[in-house]
Amino acid sequence: MDKLMLLGDEAIALAGMDAGMSGIYAYPGTPSTEIMEYVQHSGRSSEDNIFCQWSANEKTAFEAALGMSYSGKRSMACMKHVGLNVAADPFMNAAITGVNGGFLLVVADDPSMHSSQNEQDSRYYGKFAMIPVLEPVNQQEAYDMVFYGFDLSEKYKLPVMIRITTRLAHSRSAVRTASRLSQKEVNLPSDPVQYVLLPGIARKRYRGLLNSQTLLEGESGNSPWNSLVNGNDKSVGYIACGLAHNYLIEAYRGKQHANPVLKIGQYPLPAELVEKITGDCEKVLVLEEGYPIVEEMLRGFPGTGKKIMGRLDGTLPRDGELNPDIVAEALGMPFEKGPEIPSVVKNRPPSFCAGCGHIDMFNALLESIRNYGPGRVFSDIGCYTLGALPPFNAINSCVDMGASVTMAKGAADAGLHPSVCVIGDSTFTHSGITGLLDAVNDGSSITVLIGDNSTTGMTGGQKSSATGRIEDICAGVGVDPGHIKVINPLRKHHEENTRIISRELEYRGVSVVIARRECIQVTMRRKKEEKTS
């Protein structure tokens, strides 16, 4: 048994390898990226022949993992919370097909939106699909839950979700590892139509999923991750989900809590334990890292008569990440405060790296579009979203992966000309290609500016799906090759680049300008590696 210092993400990755996982599929997204990276960088993946390549997007990742599970092997799909929106179609239906080999979906939520456009809570997805959800409170639980989750998945032939949040994903602590399990052999599903969701079969399978709910609830009732610790002070009971339990324990500063506490780490909610604590106590305070999903369930409508406190009644803030101080205050416990932040301290938002090609791309775009006036640049998710900040103030949207192309198309259809979108190479292959096909088919007049830094930059430089093939893809989709231009975004080419973009802005039809220069971080890393080797 080894003891290692691991990030929550890394603990999950290692546990997957130790638990006999045969493949992991993912698209990079903070705070989930390090799960795949850990597998890729460990010698174990090649030693044990564990498949570990980035997918084009979360949907393809999820489906490939489902296919591996179909074949009887243990597989994992990893993504950030908004990535599950992309994979929502296979996700919802995989709950109905069920699985064969153990299937774990790891979703990393980002409450407080440290690196995301929303703070949606994936536990809702778990409830929506009616599958078990595991929520670890520390790195050790994250490790252990992978073994437990694979077993649970195989026992009920269902996908199981492990839901983590930023704090656990990116916090390091000691993890004791368990004995390694070997991988499974290929073993096809015993029911040949299990995965064929024709209405007649789907109805039958859906009823099976519904019937399993009582059993899943029973599993939660006996789960090692759910525990009710009694206390003499029944004036208020605490239900603490995931990391909120840590902050509750922290608030007591090492002393035993006097009130009953129900710790939740496995869903569906264990009904008996919840009924016990709500029945025993006069009031219940629900502490959860994320949306008030448990609180809403307890409140019911028109209400059970029991006073339920949490994020909905203002006992805790309605949005944002919890922390020890917020929880201590809600519990009425004393907490310390250091000096205030002096007013001299200014915000320091992220910015483009010095020497980044996106800077030169935006400078050329801004000059080309100046005469047309503001409000015509749709953008996307990636480093280039920083083009929204001063001094550029260059983009007018950032909604979801790929939306820049389709929003520019819709605006062009409405009569806006020029209508421009700025999208990165990795985001383009993730979800931009289909939108470009729509624009080509409809002859919508848009200019697609692809900031091609030949990597997935914002998440730290992972492989981009179609490096070197972007113009071929655009031509293949049907963009006129005469209107596919490649520019080198460097200051010395500014005038030429501005001229090329200006010309394409005037064009009535679909045009693509690829601003291609390798991410400066990747260049520096490569030079450093070349120097040391």
């Binding site: 210092m5 916090s171 390091r172 250091g338 040391t532």
Partner: protein
């Protein structure tokens, strides 16, 4: 013992190398450790911090409660002030003096320094100059770690061992440079306080 430390800086300044050394030293001392890091968007030149918790007992929360940190170690002076609400009453603020001005409204450095001086327990150190004097301008982070080392609750010899371990794979020269920088920071503090 329980030592909560906030390491502060700007994305790209390499605060995680300081965190890694303290973490390794805590493990060598058979202490419990939790180290929360910032990955993602803020690594692109934004404000970043690491919450490090070291204890002889099990640590539950990854985040440090307000007003309890024994040490704020900042590699940039304005960033030193950003985490004051976490500083405990007797806690120490140890900061580098070199400002990193990547924002338009970066305040007057004098004002920042005078705010730092108004904190009871503070150490202001020009780690970049000291690192340069030692012939290794890139090891100012190790100068900072050396200057802050007495406040970590970990024996200095063990921190040296940790630095050796962390840089081992980069070769003996790099180990030697970093140990020298560490000691220069430590000496600066000992002479000053």
């Amino acid at each position: 013992m329980q030592t909560d430390i906030i390491i502060a800086g700007v994305g790209g300044q390499g605060i995680l190398s300081i965190a890694a050394c303290i973490g390794m030293a805590a493990l060598k001392s058979n202490l419990h450790l939790k180290q929360s890091e910032v990955h993602g968007m803020s690594q692109r030149g934004g404000a970043v911090q690491s919450n490090m918790r070291i204890s002889d007992k099990e640590i539950i929360s990854d985040l440090i409660p307000g007003g309890t940190a024994k040490l704020i170690l900042a590699v940039e002076p304005m960033e030193a002030l950003r985490y004051l609400p976490w500083l405990s009453d007797g806690g120490w603020l140890v900061t580098n003096t070199t400002p990193l001005k990547n924002i338009k409204d970066y305040p007057d450095t004098e004002e920042i320094i005078s705010e730092i001086k108004s904190i009871k327990n503070h150490v202001i150190i020009d780690a970049d100059s000291i690192a340069r004097e030692q012939g290794s301008p890139r090891s100012s982070n190790m100068v900072m770690l050396g200057a802050a080392s007495p406040f970590t609750g970990i024996e200095y010899g063990i921190i040296e061992e940790a630095v050796r371990d962390i840089f081992k794979r980069k070769g003996e020269d790099v180990v030697a440079i970093n140990l020298k920088a560490l000691k220069a920071g430590r000496d600066y503090l000992n002479n000053k306080h």
